[in-house]
Symmetry: C2
Subunit: 216 residues, 2 copies
Amino acid sequence: VVLTSGDVDHIGGLLSLRESHRFSIHATREVLAIIVGNPVFGVLDSEIVKRNVLDPGRPHCLDCGLAIEAFVVPGKVPLYLEGDGPVSNRRSGATVGVVVSAASRRFFYVPGCAEIDDDTARRLENADLVFFDGTLWTDDEMIETRTGTKAGRRMGHMPVSGPMGSLARLKELRVRRLVYIHINNTNPMLVAGSAEQKAVAAAGAEVGFDGQEIVL
Amino acid sequence: VVLTSGDVDHIGGLLSLRESHRFSIHATREVLAIIVGNPVFGVLDSEIVKRNVLDPGRPHCLDCGLAIEAFVVPGKVPLYLEGDGPVSNRRSGATVGVVVSAASRRFFYVPGCAEIDDDTARRLENADLVFFDGTLWTDDEMIETRTGTKAGRRMGHMPVSGPMGSLARLKELRVRRLVYIHINNTNPMLVAGSAEQKAVAAAGAEVGFDGQEIVL
């Protein structure tokens, strides 16, 4: 299990893997600190479930033969650790993307990203395959749909649409195959036949789906 | 949501109720301390999800009009808080049963119980309806099936079967309707047509099932 964030949608599922199955967790120091700071994750016996530090920028071999490397992207700390002060998107091990490779093939997995800054752009440029943060179509979507009170960037997610959105930006960076993941249920690109879903397809990108398999 | 234990199978589901739904949590001080001690439960905004102390032995009214009263039963602390020292079953707010009542009808809900001691026996005697801890059929079931290394009592659960089991004990106490819940997947009484399931029925008790509705 490779964790790219300590937010509950990334770590909550670990509690369902507690039946003495042998596996390993790979995460940055920041995310591992969250696991340690919540004793409930002790249901994953550390004799059975090893915790491994993933140092951003350093390749790391998994037992299954894949190589992974985490890289820091702009993001925020998890919701439940925000505190009362102002929250900003910054670069820290709290939010990372990963590049996964085997032999000469590789793909990027970036489920949370507040901004494609220069460093992130350099990494993703010309990539064969990128799975990217598809949380919201527009920055104010949750406010508009009255499902929330926060803008996307306040939640650490850049929108898909618009001139500064990820779709335009990743196409500029000549990403060859772009698959959106981590899609909020307010995002209209999830609706079959919607104008937004057509816009994604017209730009040569894809809306990911459960059970999707991709051969590189 | 009324919590009778801080073990992960009782509290983990709270993380799936985090979408700004308004509800209340009712739990003993011991169990609420566990929620507070795991910052991840902060995803349940305390402005939206109120935490209420349930004092064992004191009736407590829910907004829905039901009255509940928690009562301490023998049990142990949650697995992930066991530490390295010896673990024993004792009476504390870490494990409670509840009696739920409306008008003149009431039922008992006891999903974890290491022993029917005198106090527990006095409460359950002559009850119209008891939902009771059906984790294991025999104390050494998980060892025998090689699914675990601990005996039932070591896990805070008394077995259903045997002269000291809950089935014999609750029938002695003239419980009128007994429905087993919290049943581990190693318990053979779950298997349709098994001798164990027949033994439960022959004793006038029931194996609970998902979606079961009971009118009192």
